[in-house]
Symmetry: C2
Subunit: 359 residues, 2 copies
């Protein structure tokens, strides 16, 4: 594996975004959250994916708007803010929204920021882990750009892969933050495409064909299935509901930039919530434990009794972060390094191969 | 099916609770939420189940405390309240906590009540549907009395069946409130017991035996499995986390009343959150729609396009409520009527069989 210094990566990615018209601040934010994903081993949401996404949906008709200003909309409610992101870059908006939710939680115990006219923020886990690093309980959900998932027992994809991400501040207790973070489809569309490229079959009952029947042939996939049958469907629907109450339009035309939908909106919606742990602390922990000691005791109980080989959610990502830390940079495959080199060339940045070590 | 008038049912159940030492107010609340469950066809959480639960875990050492007072703990945070329920009856505490969360949401946009030293509140869906009837977006989770579920790939049950319930105010839009409400185990322990009684096998991969292997023999069940593998595990763990941050003790001894755990606590924890829909309304809905019209358009889109035979979460319960409405009372089986008659007799209430019609 190649070890790419974070500073080098961030400079290239920042410049790549700037070359696409984004201002310095939002480009720097975009690079930071790409680093965050790569640092935690999230291959699907690193800079390569981010810029590919920008290429597909970004700056252009209906896509993100470089340099857009976030409008904080008037509200009579102190602990909840409503933002019109004006299609500003997703990572910028998400990191600022989570930051604001933390400030609101400092004041009210809980803070929510709901965002209309938003754009894909990439890895939700990054924002909640960052908030957990700062000591908060954090949560985010969003509607995803395309409706690729069918309702339970359905035939036509009308809901997104709609992820949920929760982060809990447990780093000082068990070495990493518990982070529950996944999409509500059983498998990702990216996985379908990968299996198609590799000529392999899908796992059973993960996707349907155009007749609404289960298929394991990636070429026949018309819609994805939610995890856990009606339960995952409920969780995906929840994001659609939060989106619909905030300002999101019809899921089946979301992200269909370039098509003619004069009276509809094509952007996604995001929801951020932060709770201050002190606001939940009822001050009466067993055995005279502090709040932190109690959380640790509960976690130890859960993975005790013969469950020692189980993992907590977030533990795999924390392991990848530890490897990045040990190697002293982002662990990239040869292919990813070449993508980064191409990105540097396109953005007019020198690509210093000598700075990349092998791990 | 028998049609039991709500007033008759509530009087018997109230008296039954009073006969066990609960005061009039909490007994009336208990009866109300039993009605609410029965009205919506929730057979597992009606009065029969409630009083059985009270018999097992209720008033007595470590159980609920009749007439207990809820203490609102001091907090510097205005939008989040911390309650010590002092083991007051679960339905009383839950209904009051949700009511308070609604008041907080009126003021701050969002309101949270977290409850320490709590007791099983029965059907979570009831509280969020009630809040949705009043126009709010509501959510609750709790840790369940016993740890019956194994962590993903685990061997020993260390987490609860820990349910989540979300309610969205959609009754005026589509005729009922969307209510997402389920436990995080693939099947309920009650279902295991039922299949055992009936000499039937479990569905595959729902439970493990004492060696940590999957079993379909109800007699060999040592622990239940979460729905959706690691995803349901994350959702169950989330409840344990909220509990641990608030005041919950070790899950493996929770509900083990009567055992000797001098330095530990045996009660459950609950979390209630209400969000005011106005606080999420960014005021820019496509096609000039109002918030409600937009939510309706999104819901119609989701169950359109060939998905017309799918259901929304909460729709089955709404169908049962409509049947109750049509019949003019609670639809009880003969067995349930006899349980109610027994309850009446034990509580010294006359049981007017003539008031029960057939539907």
């Amino acid at each position: 594996m190649n070890v790419v210094p974070v500073q080098m990566h961030d400079e290239i990615v920042t410049k790549a975004y700037q070359a696409r018209g984004y201002d310095f601040e939002e480009s720097r934010e975009a690079a930071k959250w790409c680093s965050m994903a790569a640092w935690h081993g999230i291959k699907t949401h690193n800079a390569v994916k981010a810029l590919h996404l920008d290429h597909l949906f970004g700056a252009g008709p209906g896509g993100t708007v470089p340099g857009a200003e976030i409008e904080v909309l008037p509200s009579r409610f102190a602990a909840v803010e409503k933002w019109n992101a004006n299609y500003k870059l997703g990572q910028s908006v998400a990191s600022r929204a989570m930051e604001r939710a933390m400030q609101l939680a400092d004041e009210y115990g809980v803070g929510i920021v709901t965002v209309d006219n938003a754009f894909h923020y990439l890895w939700g886990g990054g924002y909640v882990i960052d908030a957990a690093n700062k000591g908060y309980i954090a949560y985010t959900n969003c509607t995803t750009t395309l409706a690729e998932v069918v309702p339970f027992k359905g035939k036509y994809p009308t809901i997104g892969t709609n992820p949920h991400s929760w982060g809990f501040p447990t780093k000082d207790l068990i070495g990493f933050n518990v982070c529950i973070d996944w999409a509500t489809s059983k498998i990702a569309m990216g996985r379908v495409q990968q299996l198609k490229r590799e000529g392999k079959e899908l796992p059973p009952e993960c996707a349907i064909d155009e007749n609404g029947n289960y298929t394991t042939n990636p070429a026949d996939v018309f819609g994805l299935v939610t995890f856990g049958d009606h339960k995952g469907y409920g969780l995906s629907l929840a994001n659609e509901m939060f989106g619909a109450f905030s300002g999101g339009s019809l899921p089946t035309i979301r992200g269909h930039f370039g098509e003619d939908h004069p009276n509809e909106k094509l952007g996604i919606s995001c929801y951020f919530q932060v709770t201050h742990p002190d606001a939940l602390d009822c001050g009466n922990f067993a055995g005279g434990r502090s709040q932190g000691e109690n959380v640790k005791a509960v976690l130890n109980d859960i993975l005790g009794h013969g469950n020692e080989n189980c993992l907590f959610p977030g533990q795999i990502e924390a392991g990848s972060a530890a490897e990045s830390e040990k190697a002293g940079g982002l662990l990239f495959t040869d292919v990813e390094v070449e993508e980064l080199a191409k990105m540097a060339e396109e953005s007019g940045v020198a690509f210093d191969r000598a700075a990349i070590n092998k791990a």
